[in-house]
């Protein structure tokens, strides 16, 4: 590896790229369009049914079950029971990206039978006023009808059996759809820019005889691939800044800008440059290369948490997502940019790094300048 040769090759890459408006559009402008599009769509219709996470401490009593199914029937909220330690509930909601939660305390059914009041504790996200309104009105409405049906129902001095405790906020920073979209779209850019370009290049350069031509120079395959990796890392940093800037200034997203992002912005492009090269190398024609590239790229584009949270996937689909390297890039960035969870980010990073080393080694090995025949 000689830095001067990598530098010379990098200049060729940068010139080829910056003189090609289509490539620049897809790498830098396209993510802005996507963040605008998804931001607008989901900030209006994204909250039609808010997920209400319920911690039922009344041991799933029939009365509490009845109350929850009545809530679910309002269609304003969709009830999702969980089991966690109550003192951490608010924090837990925040860390897992939920905007609303409710605790049904122990003795809910017994109190109703005795005509005494139970206070339900609601956790809401003040950043998400629509969701807050829906959750509060759904719980108040269902509680009112339960109060009416309670034993002392028709007596005027009767205390309600269900009341609302003062609202709590969901703990830690509050995440909205746009917050998740930022690591997702950076991941999208890490995936698509190198994949589409390298798959195309690796087959068309072979057809045009450019690899043959380069094989007659002292440039090595490793140097050639390294120059591309360096370029896509630079491009990823620019795309990340653009996506974060647009998200924060146009849509009021909250993300933490931390050095913890950097390893993902480096290892991500390293992986996908190698994978793109590998896809192009194993295919005999540019057409086959495009096909293989698309088969590899498209499922990853939608199923790795780019536009939709993997935690909201059905279990089978989530299992598929977990098999995709991009999932670990995006999840890792979510951990550092949103959840401040460096432990999980590190394990994500190690998975991507290991996969990258394998794919890079394979790409350098299988990719030949000359015909080995």
């Amino acid at each position: 590896m000689k830095p001067a040769r990598i530098g010379a090759d990098l200049r060729v890459v940068v010139r080829s790229y910056t003189r090609n408006p289509v490539a620049l559009f897809f790498s830098l402008i396209f993510p802005i369009i996507l963040i605008g599009l998804f931001g607008l769509i989901f900030s209006t219709i994204g909250s039609t049914s808010t997920t209400l996470i319920v911690l039922n401490e009344d041991h799933d009593s029939p009365y509490s079950q009845e109350f929850l199914s009545a809530l679910d029937n309002t269609t304003l909220v969709s009830v999702q029971p969980v089991n966690v330690t109550p003192s951490d509930f608010g924090t837990w909601l925040g860390q897992n990206g939920y905007s609303a939660g409710m605790i049904i305390p122990d003795g809910f059914e017994a109190n109703a039978t005795n005509n005494s009041t139970t206070n339900l504790t609601l956790f809401v996200n003040p950043e998400d006023a629509t969701a807050e309104g829906e959750v509060v009105s759904a719980v108040q409405g269902v509680a009112a009808s339960f109060n009416l049906e309670a034993k002392c129902g028709h007596a005027t001095d009767c205390a309600p059996v269900i009341a609302l405790a003062p609202l709590h906020n969901v703990g830690r920073p509050i995440y909205t759809y746009i917050d998740y979209l930022i690591p997702g779209l950076i991941g999208f850019s890490i995936l698509t820019s190198p994949m589409f370009s390298l798959v195309e290049i690796s087959s068309s350069y072979r057809k045009q005889g450019i690899f043959r031509q380069l094989s007659l120079t002292p440039l090595t395959r490793g140097e050639w691939l390294t120059a591309r990796v360096v370029w896509y890392i630079l491009l990823t940093f620019v795309a990340a800044l653009i996506v974060i800037g647009t998200g924060v200034y146009a849509f009021g997203a909250h993300v933490t800008l931390t050095l913890g992002m950097v390893p993902f912005l480096v290892v991500g492009p390293f992986f996908f440059v190698s994978l793109g090269m590998l896809c192009g190398t194993v295919s005999k024609t540019p057409e086959a290369a495009a096909l293989i590239g698309n088969i590899v790229t498209f499922p990853m584009m939608f199923l790795s948490g780019t536009f939709f949270q993997v935690s909201s996937f059905p279990p089978d689909l989530a299992a598929v997502a977990h098999a995709m390297p991009l999932y670990y890039v995006i999840d890792g960035m979510n951990q550092v940019m949103l959840f401040q969870n460096p432990g999980r980010a590190l394990s994500d990073l190690l998975i991507v790094l290991a996969a990258s080393i394998v794919v890079f080694a394979l790409a350098v090995r299988l990719f030949q300048w000359r015909e080995e025949r």
Partner: protein, 310 residues
């Protein structure tokens, strides 16, 4: 003079096809060697083996004393190659391309000087995808010279180019020889070989069927000199009867083979005696092209077609 290229018993077999079937030749240093053959004869396979781009099946090959396949890295610093239909990065200009190669080879060549040498200086800042076919080949030629090579390989460098661009490339090839470099040229243009080459080998069906200087090849394989007279067919009959020689009639001409130059005088005086009206006469020697066509196949639009399908 020492040989720059030595080839002995070279064989290249693909799964089903034998592309090169036992080829031997030497190219002395400082000479231009033309490798002629119809499409599919094995020219490109041979040149790619010499350049280290393909592995040989059998035989021994040395270029500047190096084995091109196993010592390619060393060899590539000392040779220059222009492939058939030179391709490069679309958005890069000739000047940037030469600078790129200069860094890759660690050479000190001046881009402007090199581009001037191949008559491409006026297009130094034009992007590759806007260059014409001839300009692209000239850039290929310039890049192949970046490392000041001892041996230059040119694989059909003028195929598909207009006459002006061909002549420009020819003049660069002549200047390469003038520098004392060895030039290995493949072509299917016979005039190109006759114009440029010190020595020629004709390859057909993977074998060399003739080699030597163009003159030697014509002498060994050409037909005798001929006298052609524009005259009616009766003259052919008259000459056969009168002189007892073989006279043919075709395309409005009577043609007689000449064993000796003085035969021409005998034939002409016989024609005069015949009283048959005749128009003009010429004497004809075989060109390399005539020899090639008779040995190899038919001509078609300037490109030669092989008798056996490739």
């Amino acid at each position: 003079m020492a040989a720059a290229i030595e080839v002995q018993g070279l064989v290249k077999r693909y799964a089903e096809v034998v592309a090169v079937a036992g080829v031997d030749f030497d190219v002395p240093a400082g000479t231009v060697f033309a490798f002629l053959g119809p499409n599919g004869a094995g020219k490109t396979t041979t040149v790619e083996i010499l350049e280290g781009l393909r592995r040989r099946t059998e035989g021994s090959v040395a270029v500047l004393g190096l084995d091109p396949w196993t010592e390619g890295e060393k060899l590539h610093r000392r040779i220059g190659v222009i492939p058939q239909e030179f391709g490069f990065f679309d958005k890069i200009t000739p000047k940037e391309a030469v600078e790129y190669y200069r860094t890759l080879f660690g050479s000190a060549v001046d881009p402007a000087e090199l581009l001037a040498r191949v008559e491409l200086l006026d297009k130094a800042d034009a992007r590759f995808d806007t260059l014409s076919g001839g300009q692209k080949q000239k850039l290929g030629l310039a890049l192949s010279l970046t490392n000041d090579p001892e041996v230059c390989f040119l694989d059909e460098p003028t195929t598909g180019l207009d006459p002006h661009a061909r002549r420009a490339i020819w003049s660069v090839i002549r200047s390469l020889r003038g520098d004392g470099r060895t030039v290995f040229l493949t072509t299917h243009y016979l005039d190109e070989a006759q114009q440029l080459a010190d020595r020629v080998a004709i390859i057909h069906g993977g074998r060399i069927i003739a080699s030597g200087t163009p003159g030697e090849i014509i002498r060994a394989n050409g037909r005798p000199a001929r006298l052609r007279v524009a005259a009616p067919p009766e003259l052919a009959g008259f000459l056969r009867k009168e002189l007892g020689i073989e006279a043919r009639f075709e395309d409005g001409h009577v043609e007689v083979d000449l064993g000796d130059k003085r035969d021409a005088l005998r034939v002409l005086s016989a024609i005069e005696r015949s009283g048959i009206t005749w128009d003009s006469f010429t004497t004809q020697d075989d060109t390399l092209e005539d020899v090639f066509v008779r040995m190899v196949g038919r001509m078609d639009d300037g490109a030669l077609k092989s008798e056996v399908p490739p």
